[in-house]
Point group: C2
Chain length 341, copies 2
């Protein structure tokens, strides 16, 4: 199955997952609602780590649960694991194979912490190490670059957030997600035609903030892995207070300008780069506000927007990879399963 | 006072700080040792955020305390602060002015969490918001790029780590730190002469892992802010499993190859990039292992190495800034005090 097919599958994958994720995660969520769990401790790598960044906002902002992103080498290499008390330790990994992520879950379980694996392989070492397993059920992902397993992980985390902080409004918004994702993928020609103008882009920055910092990081990684573009992804807040000094006049800026609390902040950075440094901008946004825009549907609340915003970015990157004469199925020097010790 | 003077001051600043930090942090550390605090929740931006990355390893690996890095916008912009139970909320900021970091501490205090400010201004809003204040006492830092306040923050966190996990060996190592820092700054000519060969470097990657991931991030930021080099900093583990695809043949790699558990991993990545992609390498290391090397003293345990490794990197970057004809005191488009809402 080709990359484009895996991109197209996403609404169906998320729909299947949402039919059972809330139910399967309820026992874990109940512990947190009853104050038996005080924070989440998430171990992940690569795209799964970007899902972890989404979790910081979704579990924190919707579910009220603070999130710590693990530094797995303390467990796997330094033999210096911290004490994990009153926390839910979550391993996120498509393959469930990475030894360092497995090491975090194994140590957490040894210490008596609650453990949860979110993986595409319920027979993996990660699943074996965890007390509770959520099979994200995305089906085989053959392309090296993660697409449907990334959005499935986001959907699983959104379902966990709603289970932690339930309301009728949130349940309804989540239930509408798959149809909005399908709508967001309907136009494949738009992103593809836009990509035609970027065949010679060799480097760029990608900025986002808040819920869509994860989108900027994930888009940046896809651009690097597939299209071999030296993309630097940043929080718009961090970028404006340091890295911006090094921005090259006339360079490319890709920005995720989602609706919501931080819309104006990202837009202001974009304006500054355009006016002061003649930046060439490409905007991933709900509103087609002039210039080059990849649009995504915005009729769901901001906390679900990362599941919609990434879709045209995936289509754009897949098309750009082809335009640049590269092989989307076999990126240079990469293996599908990450084995970090 | 010029940047180079602030760089030179660092051993004295750290020596003064270490004379009182352990004592001042003892009440907070005691709460954690008695299991009244289960994790640290750190809010910071820029170089202070890199100190937060060091804290993940130092508090976690030496002090046994897991660390969550805050996403301040949940507090300052989304009005969706998570519940902060049984945690120590730490704000790290040179100026103590950034509204988003202050918002985290104010909300934490409102919720009844323990709060600690590490700041260079005990009269700042951040200090006013916190129950416990550690004045890092670095004296006025006039240069826009943080140097002595960064290492002072690392030293404060190292002192907290030792207070959390005390041992005679650790106290002794910490006490020897200032003299090793002074030794590491003795040779200013070496980094300066090396920098002469990098005047035309416009972009590079900077890699590190474990305790010295913070060093890679901080070096990368200095290169961007001062020398206007488009430096992308990465964990060596993350870089090898995705971003590496986009590495440009013949490009520059700057690597922090500290002694300790992850030495061979970073060295292996460097070898791979050299053999497969003809990378031009510059190594920040204890051992002068051929090629371009910035050396730092390695006779302290690895957990203190970030305080030593950054010193020649600062000297190199300051010299490179001059070589490139840039103004180290007033980087392009930056202000000293970061005011992120």
């Amino acid at each position: 199955m080709a990359l484009i097919d895996e991109i197209r599958e996403q609404p169906a994958v998320v729909e299947r997952l949402l039919q059972r994720a809330g139910h399967e995660l309820e026992p874990v969520a109940r512990l947190a609602r009853r104050n038996r769990i005080d924070y989440a401790f998430i171990a992940a790598r690569g795209s799964s780590d970007h899902a972890g960044v989404y979790a910081q906002y979704a579990l924190g902002g919707i579910g009220g649960l603070p999130v710590a992103l693990a530094t797995p080498s303390l467990f796997s290499r330094y033999d210096a694991a911290p004490r994990l008390r009153r926390c839910l330790v979550v391993g996120i990994s498509q393959s469930g194979q990475s030894p360092d992520v497995v090491a975090v879950l194994e140590e957490a379980r040894r210490q008596g912490a609650r453990t949860l694996a979110m993986t595409n392989d319920p027979a993996s070492p990660l699943a074996a190490a965890a007390e509770t397993v959520l099979d994200i059920g995305a089906g085989p992902e053959r392309s090296i670059a993660a697409t449907k397993t990334y959005t499935a992980q986001l959907a699983a985390l959104a379902a966990l957030a709603v289970a932690l902080g339930p309301s009728r409004e949130r349940h309804e918004a989540l239930a509408r997600l798959p149809q909005h994702m399908a709508e967001g993928l309907r136009d494949e020609d738009g992103p593809s035609e836009l990509a035609a103008g970027y065949g010679d882009m060799d480097e760029c920055i990608v900025v986002g903030r808040g819920y869509n910092l994860a989108t900027a990081l994930e888009w940046g990684l896809k651009l690097k892995e597939l299209a071999l573009i030296r993309a630097q992804a940043y929080s718009a807040a961090d970028y404006a207070h340091g890295p911006i000094a090094s921005f090259q006049a006339g360079g490319h800026v890709l920005a995720v300008v989602a609706h919501g609390a931080l819309h104006d902040d990202v837009a202001a950075l974009l304006e500054r780069l355009t006016e002061e440094r003649r930046a060439r901008t490409l905007v991933l946004a709900a509103d087609r506000a002039g210039g080059a825009t990849l649009a995504f549907p915005d009729r769901l609340p901001e906390w679900l927007s990362p599941l919609l915003a990434i879709l045209p970015a995936q289509l754009f990157t897949a098309a750009l990879t082809e335009i640049r004469g590269l092989d989307a199925e076999h990126p240079r020097g990469l293996a599908k399963v990450t084995l970090t010790r």
